[in-house]
Subunit: 219 residues, 2 copies
DNA sequence: GCGTAGTGTTGAACATGTTCAAAACCTGGA
DNA sequence: TCCAGGTTTTGAACATGTTCAACACTACGC
C-alpha cells in the first residue's frame, strides 16, 4: 500500500481515534489500529512509542476544539460568571462524544511522570494553551481584582476546569446533566470569591492563595 | 507446599505488597507474586480478579495506619489548623515508603467505574472511614460553624486530603518536602475559611458550597 | 548507474495479564 | 469406608502490548 509522503503518522492517529470512538480504549488493539491504518504493528510503534502516546493526539485536538467553540460564545459577554459558565459548558459539549472512555485517558494522564499528565513538562504547551483560554475569559470580564491575585487567577480557573473534568469522567447521567449542574453551582461561588477577594477581611487570604498556586506550579 | 487454613489469600497479599515495594507496580508480575506466595498463577486469580484488585489490600492498610498514626497526635490539641496539619502530615509519613509507585495505584483508582475509585460504591467503607477521621479532627477542635455547613465539612476536608494526595504522588522532592510545604500553606487557608464562614457576607457562599458538596456526593 | 547512509517498514518473537477446563482436595452424610 | 457436591488449585493456553533484527526504500555523492 502506497501512501503520500509523511501521511503514515496521520493515518495511524486517524485510525486510532476512529477505533477509540467505536470500541473504547481497552477495546482497541494495536493490531487493529495498524490494520485499519494499513501498516504493520511495528510501524505504529515506529511513530508512537506506546499505546498511551496515541492519546496525545486526542488530547491536543480536544483543547483546540474547546478554544474554537468557546471564544465565539464569549463575544459580547462581560459578566465573569456568565463567561465561566459558557466556557465550561463548551467543554462539556465538545468532549461529550468521548465521555464514555475519556476516563481511561485521564487515568493514564494522571500518572506521575507520564508525558500526558497535565503537570508534565511535555504537556507544557497544551497546558499553557488551556490556561490562556482562561486568561481570555478573565480579561474580557469587567472585574477588578488585586494585581497579584490576578496574575495567578487564570491558573486557578484552569484548576477549577480540571476539577470539573474529573467529575465529568465519573458522570454517567444523560447528556452530562449532572456535570452541567455542577458548573451551574460552582461558577457563582468562584465568581463571588473573585469579587469578594478585594474585601479587607479577605486580603490576607488572597495572598495565601497566591502562594499556594505558585507552589503548585513549582516556583 | 502446605499452608494453614484460609491463609492463601493473605500469603498473596503479603507477597504482592513486598514485591510492589521492591519493584513497583509495573515491575511486579503476577507470576512473581504467585511464586513468592507459593501458589499458582491461576490461584492468585481465584482470590483477586485482577492485578489492580491486589491494590485494595494496600489501600485498606494505608487508611488504617493513617488513622492509627493520626489519632494519638491529636490528643490535647484543639486548634483546627494544628489538628489539620498533624493529620495531613501523619498521612505523608505513613505513606512515604510507597510514594515512588503510589502514582500507579492512584491512576488505577482514578478510573471511573473502577472499584478502587474513591468515589465507587465498593470504596464506600474505606471512604467513610477516611471521612470519619476528619469528623474527629473537626469535633476535637474549638470552632463554631454553621450547623448545615458543619455536616458537610468532614467531607470537604477529605476532599482537601485528596488534593494533597494528588500533589503528593507527583512530588519528587526529598522526604516529600514540597508536599509538607503545601500542607503548611493550605491548612491556614482552610482554617481561616472555616472561621470566616460565619460572617454575614459569606453566609450565602457557605450555603452554595454545601449544595456543591451534596451534588458531589450524589444526593 | 552505483554504492551508502539514513529513513521507513515488516512480522515473528517475547512478556505478561487473564482465562479455563481439568485435577486435587475437602467435608458432611449414608 | 465411600460417595457427592462444593471449594481450591493447577498450569497450559490465550490475548495483546511491545521489541527487534532484518529488509525495503529513498536521497545523495561520485
Amino acid at each position: 500500500m502506497t501512501t503520500a509522503r509523511g501521511s503514515t503518522r496521520d493515518a495511524i492517529v486517524t485510525a486510532a481515534l476512529e477505533l477509540f470512538r467505536e470500541h473504547g480504549f481497552e477495546g482497541t488493539t494495536m493490531r487493529a489500529v495498524a490494520e485499519r491504518a494499513g501498516v504493520s504493528v511495528g510501524n505504529a510503534y515506529y511513530y508512537f512509542s506506546s499505546k498511551d502516546e496515541l492519546v496525545q493526539g486526542f488530547y491536543d485536538q480536544l483543547v483546540a476544539e474547546h478554544r474554537a467553540a468557546a471564544l465565539p460564545e464569549l463575544a459580547g459577554r462581560s459578566d465573569l460568571a456568565e463567561r465561566l459558565r459558557l466556557t465550561l459548558n463548551a467543554w462539556i459539549t465538545v468532549a461529550e462524544p468521548y465521555r464514555a472512555f475519556a476516563g481511561r485517558f485521564f487515568a493514564v494522564a494522571a500518572q506521575p511522570g507520564n508525558p500526558l499528565s497535565p503537570f508534565s513538562p511535555q504537556s507544557g504547551p497544551a497546558r499553557d494553551a488551556a490556561v490562556d483560554l482562561y486568561r481570555d475569559v478573565l480579561e474580557g470580564a469587567r472585574v477588578d481584582v488585586d494585581a497579584e491575585l490576578g496574575r495567578e487567577l487564570p491558573e486557578l480557573l484552569w484548576l477549577q476546569h480540571l476539577g470539573v473534568v474529573l467529575f465529568w469522567v465519573h458522570d454517567t447521567s444523560a447528556d452530562a446533566a449532572r456535570t452541567r449542574l455542577l458548573v451551574d453551582r460552582t461558577v457563582p461561588i468562584v465568581a463571588r470569591l473573585v469579587r469578594l477577594s478585594r474585601l479587607p477581611v479577605l486580603r490576607p487570604l488572597g495572598r495565601q492563595v497566591v502562594d499556594v498556586v505558585r507552589l503548585l506550579r513549582g516556583t
